[in-house]
């Protein structure tokens, strides 16, 4: 049994220790907002927070999580109230929407660190998240909006 704290709730899961956190979240816990895009940490669709730091959950073996608190898109806020979620709606960011949970989690980790990120900060923090629909400029606008810029 491995103990995990996800979105403030404790789970004891019986999985092989090499299972990536992504698949524990999706298949074992059943939270499907965190997406599978590549499995090699190249696209960012699976981004979650470990103690507030954005990580690619497809590359994190569940055994390495330990006591770190996991936050997924479902735990980002109650009732979609995070400033980034509100900004995402205001800027009408998502198209297909598949990458957006990962984009939001990367952006939330950035804002937690830098309350007024520059475009260069956004490039540095967000370039691991691919959006095939090409919503990048709206994501940038939404991050600035959420930062109150």
């Amino acid at each position: 049994m491995i103990s995990l704290t996800i979105n403030g709730k404790q789970y004891d899961v019986d999985v092989s220790t090499d299972t990536p956190l992504l698949w524990v979240i999706r298949d074992t816990i059943g939270l499907t907002g965190t997406k599978f895009g590549c499995g090699l940490q190249q696209c960012g669709a699976c981004t979650v927070h470990l103690d507030g730091v954005a990580v690619r959950s497809c590359g994190v073996p569940v055994s390495s999580v330990g006591a770190k608190k996991v936050t997924t898109i479902e735990g980002l806020s109650a009732a979609s109230s995070h400033p980034l979620q509100l900004a995402w709606i205001a800027e009408q960011v998502p198209q297909c929407g598949y990458c957006q949970p990962g984009q939001l989690m990367s952006a939330a980790a950035l804002l937690a660190k830098k309350t007024k990120p520059t475009d260069a900060d956004i490039d540095a923090a967000m370039s691991g998240n691919i959006c095939r629909c090409g919503t990048y400029q709206r994501i940038r606008r939404a991050i600035h909006r959420a930062a109150g810029a």
């Binding site: 999985v15 092989s16 299972t19 990536p20 698949w23 999706r26 298949d27 074992t28 059943g30 939270l31 499907t32 907002g33 965190t34 997406k35 599978f36 895009g37 590549c38 499995g39 090699l40 190249q42 696209c43 669709a45 997924t72 898109i73 479902e74 980002l76 806020s77 979609s80 979620q85 995402w88 709606i89 009408q92 960011v93 998502p94 198209q95 297909c96 929407g97 598949y98 990458c99 957006q100 949970p101 939001l104 956004i122 490039d123 540095a124 967000m126 370039s127 691991g128 998240n129 691919i130 959006c131 095939r132 629909c133 090409g134 919503t135 990048y136 400029q137 709206r138 994501i139 940038r140």
Partner: protein, 711 residues
């Protein structure tokens, strides 16, 4: 070798009849908003009005980010005069009565055909309901129909100011005959259409609640990964599943038509099992195929005259007899779609029924594939659709449906098949590789007198059915045969061949090649003639006023001709694609062969507008899809297999190199055009022309490599 898809779709439409219930939305996982009112007014299949004032609008076109879940009901709501914030939507079952007229009644979301195919049907549906509600109120008040108006879900008697809610009229309206004809509003009367309207799907796409195909869960469901032959068309000769079955969680290993499916309790176990599975392949006749050799063969084929797609004047003579004539050769590669959501499908095949949950662009094609794979009669097969994590043409195929239905049938349990990213990139239906010869001529005064094209390509049209008697694939020459420029001698030729690589519809399809090739060549004609590329096009568009207006607008908005920072240069392009006219200007700089795209301007005339912000979003995103292909996209084939594996060797534009796209919509009352694809088609054209302006180097081969621009 690719199976014909839509021909089967067309046959299916006539065969299904009205009895089938396929399509629809995931039961229990999505609020369908069905009116539960005691009385219900259903004047047609598209709208239901309840006695409780509920307005339910049916959705047939599938949502992959292009905004149809919002724009389709807006068409109904405009004519019905209801508050759009209060409407509910419901996904429809597959049934010919919900089909798209642009696909002969099949249910398919492709080719920028949602608005183009459905606008009239949906507006008439709303207008019919409104007319009947007016008649019902007129009878109630004993007044003439033409003394009444409607607004926000109420009928209003103009003279007295009396009002009745639609809900209070449903019983009386339902008893009326359905009018045979209704008049539609003129664009000037629109209250909702043309207003930026928040998309209905966005709230659940920011909190993880949106359900995509990969998120489907069914009781007792297993998860499978399929091990496929790396060579196109290869088959399983034998396999040993001992090691795979030894992986904890792996339940069964079964042979299906696309390979061997490792079926497990969850994805990770299936994946580990797949990695240790021993398969011996019969690689088949394509094991020596290479994209380099394919292109060499195409060059030889291009020595011959092709089938004539367009012929004005005598272009070969004009080229031959003119001292300022030249020939250029263009090459474009195979491209994968690379949807962010890997292909997947969930199927539950029982003895007497088959249920399928799938992110698809085509309910009809998915149904067809599930019927074939399950062996069950059509009426026993149910297709439920979800949101699509990208489509771009890839999800118009149904190979993933076949995977899931065959696997579920083999193991007797519900199974979700999930593709890996490698599977997705290596087993796609690719945008076909293309070889194009272009000839042009300029006369003594600097006017172009000849434009000639000969293209060699797999026939996209053959995926839909046979080529027409003239042998010309109109999809492949979309953008060249439709050349808008006033040039006296024009000839476009098409040569079809098929090396066996699976190919299909990739966002903007034939125009994805022609937007680049035609506009790059026109640009070279302009500079050869010593003309400004914008002015040259403007002068040649005297007979194409919509093109000219778009060109002028994008030139004005981009500051065409005004000074730029040192090292920066602009390129321009204009074309018609999918019924819309699109113009683009790119501003770039090139440093040691590395291209930096600073900004893009886009102008579009897409006819009267439904949701302007959706148009802007599609122009922005479509442009980046085209830029990604031009700057990075190439699928190569060696030894019958795709060389690329992943996002590291099949790269995407990311945040740090994504330019801003500034979009301007031309006010228009023309019939609506498509909006999902035109900006993808034109992106490479404006880009390579800007690169030529910056460096003096023309790009004849995509993708653009730094080596082409150094030295």
């Amino acid at each position: 070798m690719a199976k014909t898809i839509s021909r089967r779709i067309f046959l299916k439409v006539s065969a299904t009849g009205g009895a089938l219930v396929i399509g629809g939305y995931l039961p229990g996982l999505h609020e369908t908003g069905t009116a539960e009112a005691a009385s219900l007014f259903e004047p047609n299949v598209w709208v239901k009005i309840g006695a409780d004032d509920s307005i339910t609008i049916m959705l047939s076109q599938l949502e992959m980010g292009q905004g149809v879940m919002t724009s389709m009901p807006m068409l109904v709501a405009e004519e019905l005069d209801v508050d759009f914030k209060k409407i509910k939507t419901e996904w429809v079952p597959a049934d010919p009565k919900y089909g798209n007229p642009n696909f002969g009644g099949a249910q398919l979301t492709a080719g920028s055909n949602s608005v183009r195919g459905m606008w009239k049907v949906l507006r008439e549906a709303g207008a019919t309901a409104r007319a009947m509600l007016i008649t019902a109120a007129a009878q109630t008040w004993s007044v003439a129909d033409n003394t009444l108006n409607t607004e926000n879900g109420e009928v209003v008697h103009r003279a007295s100011g009396r009002r009745m809610r639609y809900g209070s009229l449903v019983d009386r309206a339902a008893a009326l005959p359905v009018p045979k004809t209704v008049s539609l509003k003129s664009p000037k009367e629109f209250r909702l259409l043309g207003q930026p309207t928040p998309r209905l799907d966005i709230p659940e796409k920011v909190n993880g609640k949106a359900v995509f195909g990969i998120d489907v869960k069914r009781p007792g469901m297993l998860t499978a990964r399929v091990v496929r032959c790396p060579v196109f068309g290869g088959k399983v000769e034998s396999f040993n599943s001992d090691k795979a079955k030894a992986v904890p969680g792996v339940r069964q290993v079964v042979k299906i038509s696309s390979g061997v499916a490792v079926v497990a309790d969850n994805y990770w176990a299936a994946s580990k099992g797949a990695q240790v599975l021993d398969v011996k392949w019969n690689e088949g006749p394509l094991a020596n195929l290479s994209s380099v050799e394919i292109m060499k063969k195409y060059a030889v084929l291009a020595e011959q005259t092709g089938k004539i797609a367009r012929n004005n004047g005598d272009a070969p003579a004009a080229v031959k007899n003119n001292s300022r004539s030249f020939e250029r050769v263009f090459e474009v590669p195979f491209l994968a779609h690379a949807c962010m959501e890997p292909m997947n499908c969930t199927a539950d095949v029982r003895a007497d029924r088959c249920d399928v949950w799938v992110p698809t662009q085509g309910q009809t094609a998915s149904h067809e594939a599930a019927v074939a794979a399950s062996g069950l009669p059509g009426k026993a097969v149910n297709i439920y659709t979800t949101y699509l994590g990208g489509g771009f043409g890839r999800r118009g195929e149904a190979d993933f449906v076949t995977d899931a239905v065959e696997t579920s049938k083999a193991v007797g349990k519900p199974v979700k098949v999930v593709w890996t990213r490698e599977d997705d990139i290596q087993h796609d239906f690719y945008r076909p590789i293309t070889y194009i010869r272009m000839w042009g001529a300029i006369d003594g005064s600097g006017k172009p007198v000849a434009f000639m094209q000969r293209m060699v390509q797999q026939s996209l049209m053959k995926r839909l059915g046979p080529l027409p008697p003239d042998g010309v694939d109109r999809i492949s020459v979309d953008g060249s045969a439709t050349l808008p420029y006033d040039i006296p001698n024009i000839r476009v030729e098409f040569i079809e061949t098929d090396p066996g690589v699976p190919y299909g519809f990739w966002r903007s399809v034939g125009a994805s090649v022609q937007g680049y090739v035609v506009e790059a060549f026109i640009d070279e004609l302009a500079t050869t003639a010593g003309k400004d590329p914008y002015q040259f096009r403007h002068d040649l568009l005297s007979k194409a006023p919509r093109h000219r207006a778009v060109l002028d607008l994008v030139a004005e908005k981009s500051g065409w001709g005004k000074p730029l920072p040192a090292g920066h240069a602009r390129g321009i392009a204009v074309m018609e694609a999918f019924g819309s006219i699109v113009g683009q200007v790119a501003e770039v700089s090139v440093t040691n062969g590395a291209v930096r795209v600073h900004k893009l301007w886009c102008a579009v005339d897409t006819g009267w507008v439904i949701n302007p912000d959706t148009i802007k979003a599609q122009m922005e995103g479509g442009t980046l899809y085209g830029l990604t292909a031009a700057l990075k996209g190439e699928i190569t084939i060696q030894n019958g297999r795709v060389t690329q594996h992943h996002f590291n060797d099949y790269q995407m534009i990311r945040h740090n190199d994504a330019p801003e796209v500034e979009v301007h919509i031309v006010p228009s009352t023309e019939t609506p055009g498509g909006i999902g694809e035109p900006s993808t088609a034109i992106a490479a054209g404006a880009l390579v022309n800007a690169i030529a302006a910056a460096t003096g180097k023309r790009i004849y081969k995509l993708p653009i490599r730094p080596e082409q621009l150094r030295g």
